[in-house]
């Protein structure tokens, strides 16, 4: 099993609000950033939350966003947000 994305890849966070437990905050959904690192593969929290074994593991990525890409405010130009996102929530951008 290989990670689908690599550091440097431009990605968009998928938009979805399932009724089940998930770990992709609404404020980052639909936003575009860059993969900074691959943390490795981890059990899927969306299944672990219901007593499942969370397999197969999913790759977890550290993704970086300029704050200006996220909010309608005018943040300091260089400010950034870093967030850990699971592979199924990423798409190429």
């Amino acid at each position: 099993m290989e990670p689908q994305f690599q550091p440097g890849d431009r990605v968009r966070i998928r938009v979805n609000y399932p009724a089940r437990h998930f770990r992709t905050p609404g404020y980052i959904q639909g936003k575009i950033g860059h993969v900074v690192g691959v943390h490795g593969a981890f059990r899927n929290p969306e299944a672990l939350a219901y007593g499942g074994d969370g397999l197969p593991k999913q790759f977890l990525y550290l993704v970086r966003f300029p704050q200006s890409h996220i909010w309608n405010t005018t943040p300091a130009a260089s400010d950034t947000l870093y967030i850990d996102i699971y592979e199924p929530w990423l798409e190429s951008a």
């Binding site: 609000y17 404020y27 929290p45 939350a49 219901y50 007593g51």
Partner: protein, 99 residues
């Protein structure tokens, strides 16, 4: 539609209250119970605790304190896993009120 626990960028958030309270004994005991179940016994995982907390009705989630949410979630999971029933917890609470 955002869930109530998904707070990043939530509108109309006020100043951060920096006051810190000493943890009450019951709060530490609640934390201890959570550690026993997740680390010693693997009865449930932290992910299940989060899911149970997220299922608290929105108005309650916003007004309950941190460990009030935790003990509510622990109760949900203990009943779900069949260790205790709501009725016996209610009975125990009622029995405690007896002088």
């Amino acid at each position: 539609m955002r869930h109530v626990h998904d707070r990043g960028g939530w509108p109309d958030a006020g100043p951060v209250d920096r006051a810190e309270h000493d943890y009450a004994i019951w709060e530490k005991r609640t934390d201890a119970m959570m550690r026993i179940f997740t680390r010693d016994q693997h009865l449930f995982r932290v992910d299940e605790l989060r899911r149970a907390i997220e299922s608290i009705p929105p108005r309650d989630y916003e007004t309950m304190t941190y460990y009030e949410r935790w003990i509510t979630a622990i109760e949900t999971l203990l009943i779900e896993k069949g260790l205790l029933t709501r009725a016996e917890i209610d009975q125990q609470v009622a029995a405690m009120a007896q002088p």
